[in-house]
């Protein structure tokens, strides 16, 4: 499964209908993510890397509209086009299969809810049945082990605590069947009848604290009761990551999660993400503009410019043999002491009336006549190395 693609984006077209005109934000974007890898999506402001991530979750805000293409997710042994699914299906996908973390952790957290309430919300949405079942199973196992006997005092006490009485069991079974059952809802509010709900909430809290501990947050019980404004930037970002991972998604989309953080905190978060990837076996799509982070974190890299993916290759290849002129220029821009600062001449073209042909042609030192008239194809120039450039057309292998 390590080599198989897990998510494929084919010919994605995204447009924003604004006052000034139609912004062609994404233009036939092609991308694929392999199971278990970290794919870096690099580019500068306005290149479309963030909206690509949002498109995968179909969270593009108006006036944006996806005008074409497919986003295929390999789920339940078949390929599903996420763009053609109904909202209810997508809500299941979000959080469960694909999760996203954003740049500003403070604004991703609701300021009027505690950390626990926010992570619990995610857990309740996706793992309600699982937790009910766990409670019921625990009770059954406890009863059996008590019957068998031969337990130490402590074990006996723990087992006794897990046993559910008949009423609680009935309620939990009802909840398992249909969480929106009115009997369940009403009973959970009435003080005498809501013991089952309390047990359930305790289970959720245990999960929340476990998640926070996994995020290497010290003193997680105390942090769980804090409000977002009491958290520092790094801590808040960890909470956001905990929320995103609480339902064990297969794909984590990270949209510049460390850009707003201090550099030492950034190192902590990046180390955490790497550890979590191993622990949870996740696939990560890491969106950033920092080539240093890319070199550190990613296995493969997609370089984006003005709404196109212009190069896609393994990370060593990108740094050693950048093929696309933009990638080359970008790498040269990185400041090195002792040398003059190199910049890219010109400006990113306006996406409202994007240039015909290659969108980089007015800044490209290798521009040919063809580049102004015809859009290049996304070709495989070398093994596992694809470029969107006329210089390499005809080298398909």
């Amino acid at each position: 499964m390590a080599e198989e693609s897990f998510l494929r984006i084919k010919d994605l077209d995204l447009r924003f209908y604004t006052y000034e005109g139609v912004v062609e934000a994404l233009d036939k974007v092609k991308l694929s993510i392999k199971d278990g890898e970290t794919l870096g999506v690099v580019g500068e402001t306005g290149c479309g890397k963030s909206v690509t991530g949002l498109s995968e979750l179909n969270l593009i805000p108006p006036p944006g509209k996806i005008e074409g293409g497919r986003i295929l997710l390999y789920k339940n042994e078949k390929w599903v086009n996420l763009l053609r699914q109904r909202d209810a299906y997508l809500r299941n996908v979000r959080g469960n299969d694909i999760s996203m973390i954003f740049q500003d952790p403070k604004s991703a957290l609701n300021p009027v809810y505690t950390v626990r309430q926010q992570i619990a919300e995610a857990i309740m949405h996706h793992r309600l049945e699982e937790l009910c079942q766990i409670l019921l199973d625990e009770s059954k196992n406890a009863i059996e082990s008590l019957k068998k006997g031969g337990l130490s005092d402590r074990e006996k006490a723990a087992a006794e605590k897990s046993v559910l009485n008949k009423r609680e069991k009935r309620m939990l079974e009802r909840m398992l069947e249909d969480p929106s059952n009115p009997i369940v809802r009403i009973a959970s509010k009435i003080p005498g009848l809501n013991r089952f709900k309390k047990r359930f909430n305790n289970k959720v809290t245990t999960e929340v604290v476990r998640m926070l501990r996994d995020m290497r947050i010290p003193d997680p019980e105390r942090v769980a009761d804090m409000y977002p404004h009491e958290l520092s930037g790094g801590m808040a970002q960890r909470v956001v990551i905990a929320m995103a991972l609480s339902c064990n998604p297969n794909l984590l989309i990270a949209d510049e999660p460390t850009t707003n953080l201090d550099v030492t905190v950034q190192l902590q978060i990046l180390t955490l993400i790497k550890d979590l990837k191993k622990q949870y076996g996740m696939t990560i799509q890491y969106i950033t503009h920092d080539m240093g982070v890319v070199a550190d974190m990613c296995d493969r890299v997609a370089v984006m410019y003005a709404g196109n993916v212009v190069e896609l290759a393994e990370v060593m290849e990108i740094f050693k043999n950048p093929l696309h002129p933009y990638t080359r220029a970008l790498l040269e821009c990185i400041p090195r002491p002792g040398t003059e600062f190199k910049s890219i001449e010109g400006f990113v073209p306006s996406l409202i009336s994007p240039p015909k042909g290659c969108r980089f042609n007015d800044r490209c030192p290798f521009a040919m006549d063809k580049c102004t008239r015809q859009k290049p194809e996304f070709v495989t120039a070398k093994k596992d190395h694809q470029v969107l450039c006329h210089l390499y057309a005809g080298e398909t292998r």
Binding site: T45, V263, L270, A295, V315, C333, S343
Partner: protein, 349 residues
């Protein structure tokens, strides 16, 4: 005088009041005894993370915030500096000290003297979207300093503005536009033009390239170098982007929780960081080269808030090499040779 700006033990504390009677319950020691000297014509880099006080230091030096104590000696003759320091060292706070400070020490300037000084020191803010008045035309933004400082009026002023715009790479046609009509890089150029239009001697650059793209960053950095030559400027470059500071600064100071913990020439500091915090800071810079594998020092805990800094050395709770003395005594900045200063008990003799 080779030192254009000298800060002596500058302190800025914010008092926290609490309780019914609004009593003082604590202090945020944003800048806690910083002494630096900036040479004329150099670029002095100031690095540190959020909350370390580098921006507060810049604003206090510019008197946008008023310091609690300390001297700010800008463009002061050496004899006057010596005299002030001697009097302070001998604790002779009498008439002579007061009048000397009124004449030379920016920390106590008021009124007209202060306003005159504003001409000579300027600040470029981090986010040009917020530092330019969205309802003013570029022309008016740039004319304002000239009018306020009585440098030029009417057509002469407009002439200077046009010239300045051209120097930063914009044109006359940009005069009659609002800031929101420009890109981020262009807005930053307007902010730079505004800072330089009064021909200052010293310019504080507060993370001027952190809100622009990588490709535009290089353009701005080149612009800084050109302007430094053309206008004979001295820069204090504040940033948390250590890779940029390495390329642009002559000397670098590392700040942590309101204090300077290390200070050295740039090549020396980057090659041989001595303070444990500097080592951690430098190891955290992401290097854009996947082949380089190095030992990264991952600090534990968060950057603490300057409200109740730890006793003794401020860094000791997170320091791997902390010793007994670090918990009680604050280390002083000592010279370890080569113009390299460290504030760490590992190096104090």
């Amino acid at each position: 005088m080779s030192f254009l700006l000298e800060l002596d033990d500058l302190k800025k504390y914010y008092t926290l009041t609490g309780g019914l009677l609004r009593r003082k319950v604590g202090a945020v020691k944003a800048v806690d005894g910083v002494s630096i000297s900036v040479r004329k014509g150099e670029t002095f880099g100031l690095v540190g993370e959020s909350g370390c006080g580098k921006t507060t230091l810049a604003k206090t030096t510019l008197r946008l915030i008023n310091p609690n104590s300390g001297n700010i000696l800008f463009d002061v003759p050496d004899e006057a500096k010596e005299r002030i320091r001697t009097l302070q060292r001998e604790k002779k706070g009498g008439f002579e000290l007061r009048s000397l400070r009124r004449q030379w020490d920016l920390a106590v300037f008021r009124g007209r003297r202060l306003r005159e000084m504003r001409r000579k020191m300027q600040l470029v803010y981090q986010d040009p979207t917020r530092s330019l008045n969205p309802r003013m035309l570029v022309k008016d933004i740039l004319l304002e300093p000239l009018a306020v400082q009585n440098i030029a009026k009417g057509t002469a002023a407009l002439q200077r503005v046009s010239e300045m715009l051209q120097k930063v790479g914009l044109g006359e046609r940009h005069l009659y536009r609002y800031p929101h009509e420009f890109s981020g890089g262009q807005r930053q150029r307007i902010a730079i033009a505004r800072a330089l239009i009064t021909t200052p001697r010293l310019v504080f650059l507060d993370e001027p390239t952190s809100s622009v793209d990588v490709s535009v960053r290089a353009q701005l950095l080149n612009l800084f170098q050109v302007l430094r030559k053309d206008f004979d400027l001295t820069y204090v470059y504040i940033s948390h982007d250590l890779s940029v500071v390495e390329c642009i600064a002559d000397r670098v100071g590392v700040m942590y929780l309101g204090k300077i913990v290390e200070l050295a020439q740039t090549p020396e500091l980057y090659a041989r960081p001595l303070h444990p915090y500097s080592i951690a800071l430098f190891s955290a810079i992401p290097i854009p080269d996947p082949t380089v594998k190095r030992k990264r020092v991952v600090l534990s805990g968060e950057v603490p808030s300057p409200v109740n800094p730890p006793a003794g050395c401020r860094f000791h709770p997170r320091c791997e090499s902390s010793m007994q003395v670090c918990q009680t005594q604050e280390p002083k900045l000592v010279d370890v040779g080569n113009g390299h200063f460290v504030a760490c008990h590992l190096f104090s003799k």
